[in-house]
């Protein structure tokens, strides 16, 4: 019994510490974390600071945008909804990945098509390089035909008669 009481106290102390830690971690459960905000922010570009993703942009405009993302996440908006909101408000050009509609389809279709066409052209080129060399080898193996000269032919016939 004497041994069990200190062990019980230690267990209780540890349990309380763990509970405290859990409470500290949860903090404000409704507030989105910076990581959640930046996950969406890195997929957006502010037109004011071209070519700088929103998550690393240091201007006030970008800070306001990040605050807006945080606010929308806090309201329970999904990532897709937030991106759609920004596209509606500021145009498709704020999206890192252009939406697959209209002429934007070209971005997704043309590069694979160009790669396939390139592979086909290379294939045909390699084939055309291979073909003449094989024919030349065959030609080289064949005996050279004698010149079709009348004088030589008559001479050969004379020789055969003898």
């Amino acid at each position: 019994m004497k041994k069990t009481i200190p062990a019980l106290l230690v267990f209780l102390a540890l349990a309380l510490m763990t509970a405290g830690a859990v409470l500290a971690q949860s903090g404000n459960p409704g507030e989105p974390t910076d990581d959640q905000v930046n996950t969406i922010a890195k997929q957006l570009y502010c037109p004011v600071c071209e070519n700088i993703p929103l998550d690393v942009c240091g201007t006030q405009a970008c800070a306001q945008w990040r605050d807006l993302i945080r606010e929308k996440l806090g309201q329970g908006w999904s990532e897709a909804q937030i991106k759609q909101y920004f596209a509606t408000q500021y145009g498709d050009r704020v999206l890192a990945t252009p939406p697959a509609r209209g002429l934007n389809w070209l971005v997704y279709i043309v590069p694979p098509m160009a790669i396939l066409a390139g592979i086909y052209i290379l294939y045909r080129a390699f084939q055309s390089w291979k073909r003449p060399s094989a024919e030349e080898d065959v030609k080289a193996a064949e005996p050279v035909p004698p010149p079709a000269d009348d004088y030589v032919l008559r001479l050969e016939e004379e020789l055969k008669k003898r």
Binding site: C46, P47, V48, T59, Q60, A61, Q64, W65, D67, L68, T88, Q89, Y90, G91, R93, L103, L106, V110, M113, A117
Partner: protein
Amino acid sequence: MSTNTTETVAPEAKVRARPHWGRILVWVGVLGLLAILALGLRRAQQGPITVGDTVPNFTLTTFDGKTINLTDLKGKVVVLNFWASWCKPCEQEAADLEAAWRLYQPDGKVVFLGADYVDTEPEALGYLKKFNITYPNGPDLGTRISQAFRIRGVPETYIIDDENVLRSVQIGPFGSLSQIQGMIDPLLGQ
């Protein structure tokens, strides 16, 4: 003999007559792409609306939900100001623009419009409240208006006459109320 010739020529003619659909398709694709590229380049090379050009119609939806079309404002001088709450130079001219609006508002011959560029609504509304701005203001949805004018930054102000022709441009903030008047008054005397 003549029959033989016919027999040998006929298959060749058939082969030649057959269209190479693959090649045709590739060429159509390439030409289509070039056409799209040319259109894109032509669009990119179009400069900003310059003084003397007729301003294409645009629609501004204000923060309180009203829709304003430029074409509906024919017969009035339009002062279109691009601004943002994060723009410090915009703050320099905010009071002067509001003072000018209050000066011209009673006659009804001049309309002031504020296009809020790449901004967030709470901050924009805070800015309007801070400077007590009462003329119609709204977000530049999809940055369509600023792209049409090809603005280089904020603030920029475009003065459009009663025939929707661009008459003057102010890049950067106005320095004073008299400067704003100096751009509007000549258009009212026409």
